[in-house]
């Protein structure tokens, strides 16, 4: 019996880095876009720099989704 432990390990590592990466990037994008005051409420509109950083994060996430769809083909 040939159990493909290597494949399972690859799935785990790929999911950890790619899936975890997308989650972290999206969270960073949300964090940068949502500055809060001390009471946890919104601290006004985000600056252009914050918007740019968030856009970059979201664009990478969108590319990852696109790649995911591509792998289905």
């Amino acid at each position: 019996m040939n159990v493909p432990w290597g494949d399972l390990g690859t799935v785990l590592m790929a999911a950890l880095f790619l899936g975890g990466g997308v989650i972290v990037l999206y969270a960073v994008g949300i964090r940068v876009l949502s500055p809060a005051s001390a009471d946890g409420e919104s601290a006004g509109r985000p600056t252009p720099l914050r918007i740019a950083i968030t856009s970059l994060c979201f664009a990478i996430c969108a590319a990852a989704v696109g790649y995911g769809i591509y792998t289905l083909l």
Binding site: L8, V11, A15, G20, I23, A27, P35, A43
Partner: protein, 382 residues
Amino acid sequence: MDTLVIVVIITALAFDFTNGFHDTANAMATSIATKALRPRVAVAISAVLNLAGAFLSVQVAKTISSGLVDDAKITPAVIFGGLVGAILWNLLTWLVGLPSSSSHALFGGLIGATWIAAGGDAVNFATVVTKVIIPAIASPLIAGVVAATGTFLLYNITRRAAKGKVRAGFRHGQVVSASLVSLAHGANDAQKTMGVITLVLITAGVLGADSGPPLWVIFTSGLAIALGTYFGGWRIIRTVGHRLTKIEPQQGFAAETSAATVILASSNLGYPLSTTQVTSGAVIGSGVGKKLSEVKWGVAGRIAIAWGLTLPAAAAIGALAGRVAISGTAGVIIVAAVLVALAATFYLLSRRNKVDRHNVNDEPVASPKSKSKPSVASRYAR
């Protein structure tokens, strides 16, 4: 076309339908639970994406059994028996609200029916272990680890962000990741039915050997799984969305993103994992990542038991159905009649404790009557 072939095609599409409504929860349970999407909108989006997914690839459709059984020894009657085993197990687990694997039910049914028709030599038990049993144990663990890690990091990163915006942001993200799971589900699971129908058409001489699925097979398989998805397996959606753990949009996003990544990574490596087990594992992982005590381990344990039972139970039903079906036309008619009668019975039982889009997000309230004498469905779905 032979009558038996038509019966098997209809039964395969019926299985595809149950596969759709049984697995709606995989993609949309978390989005419905967090109210990122209204229930009807969620199942509509999932249905469309399942249909679209069916057209993306036909690679999996080339083999229905993935080497678990000797395809050369499969006859239409054997496939019919296997499908009956899979359908009945899917309906039973739907009735009690347990997210079991439709793929394992199909494999189990085919293994049981093939074993009874062609003997144990026709079943490749080593492949069963490596392609079904080990992935069944590994997939929820992998998805759980990824989701727990992602959830933990996500909450820490967004801890000091504006709470309202965070929730809104993750609601949007969750819709995208859940949609990707729907698309992957359509691409993977609809192909199994395409493979069944294609093999039946080849054995009946309608298609040549090594033929791929014709367009009408791709379309009907995609349509059946999409209709099933739209019908919505609300009982299982409630279990995954509410009873495993209390889900916030952040957790829903982490769970669905983890599930999508694990499914796509394993598909890419040609390693079949159950989308149901991956998603359930990811939902549990998202609960662990936020707070260990938030996971209802009793419910998780019942789900794990259902996973363990799926293959042998579907195999047993498939073997019984296959044994009767291979005896001739009368046998096929008897099995078909029993299937319809049991499906109707399960449906009527489900009406006694109805779960639909209107009450899928309600917390269950036990009435005095139901407290004293709970129905079978409500007892297991708790």
